[in-house]
Each structure stands twice: as C-alpha cells, then as structure tokens.
Symmetry: none
Subunit: 138 residues, 2 copies
DNA sequence: ATCCTACATTGGACATTGTCTAAGTCAAGA
DNA sequence: TCTTGACTTAGACAATGTCCAATGTAGGAT
C-alpha cells in the first residue's frame, strides 16, 4: 500500500494524515467496507477525521482507478481496494461463492448499434451464475 | 397490463385506485423508473397518492415476481416491469437511466470451459454502461 | 528554516432514498 | 347494506451521501 501512496504522490496528491489513514484502512483486510465503516476504522487511528474527508478521499481513489466502487444491493456502496484487473464474476447460486473470471472476446461487441439507443457505451459488467463443484456434488 | 391486474386479483389483492395507477405507470416497456418517478407519474393520475403507498405497492409487486428491482448504482432502485422476458440492461453512468437491451449471440458462450472452474453455469447478467443521448449533449 | 498559498479538512446543514407507525378509509364478501 | 380487515395516508424518522464557508496545512519557494 506504500506503493499506492507513492503513486498518489506522483499524481500530485498531498499526503495528509487523513489520506494515509484511509489508505491504511483499505489495505488492512479482504472485506469490502462501506464508507461509514471506513470512517469508523479510520477514526480509531485518527479520531478527528471527518466523514466528509473519508467520502472525498474514497471518491478520489475511485476516480483515479485505485479503488473499485461496488454497489450490490442498493444500500451503501462498498470499496474494493483490488481494482487492478478486469472484473467479471462467477457466482454460485447456492452457496454464494464468487470467483473472478476472464471471458473471451470483446463483450462490448455483443451489443449491436441498433440496441444502443444513442448511448456512448463504454463498459460492460458481467455476472455469470451457476452451481459450483462443491454444491453440485453435495 | 390488465393481465397483471387480473393476476393480482387472483392472488387476493384488493384492486384499489392506487394500485391500478401504479400498474398503469409501470406499463411502459423501455425506461425503468425509480420509486419517486413512479410516484410522480402516479400522482399525475391520482394526485393524492402517497409515497408510502407507491413504495408498498412496488415492494409487493417485486415479492410477487411481477416486477424486477434493479439496483445498478448506489442510488435509487429502479423497477423493471419486463420480468417475464430475458433481457440485459443499458445504464447511463451520469443520470442512471436504464433501458432494456437484447445483445446478439450467446452470452454464456463467452465464458470458456477453462474459465468455468467446474461450475454448471446457467445464467448470465450483463450491464452495459455509457452516456445516454440527453447527458452527452447537456 | 520560514513563509505562502493552493489544496485539504472540518462540521454541520442539506438532499435523497427508503422505512415505519398510528389513525382514518374503503373494497368486497356476507 | 354492513362489516371487517386490508389498504392508504401524512409525516416523523433513519441511512447514506453531498455541499459549503471557514479554517488548517503540505510542500514548494525564498
């Protein structure tokens, strides 16, 4: 994660205590926290940090592509610090296991021009669902 | 959509003016509205309808499987009345508008066997993202 | 080392989206 | 038509996120 801080400084970021703490929280665990969870954990390390700063910092990290914003359930967004590879998911409908997968071909090409309704289409997210090996034998 | 009203009556629903109006609003097939948009359009037809009733009715339609709840960004959920036909979604990254689209080809075929990790893959959900015509000119 | 200043932070007001409840209303069967 | 329990309503409340003016400060300039 000091890599991250280096990259950010290279992009002209000021390295404030608050930003360091947010980066540290995101680096700590494999769980994807909500903004308020990040704020709570950051406040353990730097009690006076404000919610606004956490939101700002997360938003900046997202727009720099350092962190992925995930919104699965219409409630709070969650932040995924492992944002550095293409992101499709294979989900087990029975047990919920998630794997990252890499589909072949250009997924965007699957949408014909006459189905684009004037949109400038730029990205595509795919979730495959099925039954994983453990669940299909159990 | 009168089909829908018939089905609902068959399930023991009371056919109130409010529910009729919500069903009527949902009976367009291209854009998916947020709950508040449904409320606004319903209020054009029945001015005294309350937000709570719209939320209640949408929630009931979702749990009956008549309408799909779609949450593509962390903002308002949208309601897709087209729950009985396979389709994918095209989302405006700026304003959140959702359209149904129908990609060409077999989307499942895009996932090679060696990327299936032993799963019996059965369905695929695709969300295309881009900028809609209104947002790209504004 | 100190000073400047543009950028960062803060706290709190505000906005959006959704939930809940108590009291009044009404659809539909008897 | 009468009754009754389901439905609707208004508005308070909750959760999440955004915005702003005032204040603080990182890091280059001197």
């Amino acid at each position: 994660m000091s890599d991250l801080l280096e990259r950010l400084r290279g992009r002209g970021w000021r390295l404030t205590a608050q930003r360091r703490v947010v980066a540290e929280v995101l680096d700590g665990d494999h769980v994807h926290y909500t903004a308020d969870e990040v704020h709570a954990k950051a406040a353990d390390l730097l009690p006076e940090i404000s919610r606004a700063t956490v939101y700002n910092t997360l938003g900046e990290l997202v727009s720099l592509g350092e962190v992925l914003e995930v919104s699965t359930d219409g409630r709070a967004k969650r932040y995924d610090p492992n944002a550095h590879h293409a992101h499709q998911h294979l989900v087990c409908s029975r047990c919920g296991t998630i794997r990252d997968v890499h589909p072949a071909g250009d997924l965007l090409a699957g949408l014909p021009a006459e189905e684009r309704f004037g949109f400038q289409v730029s990205t595509v997210e795919v979730t495959y669902r099925g039954i994983c090996p453990s669940c299909s034998t159990a």
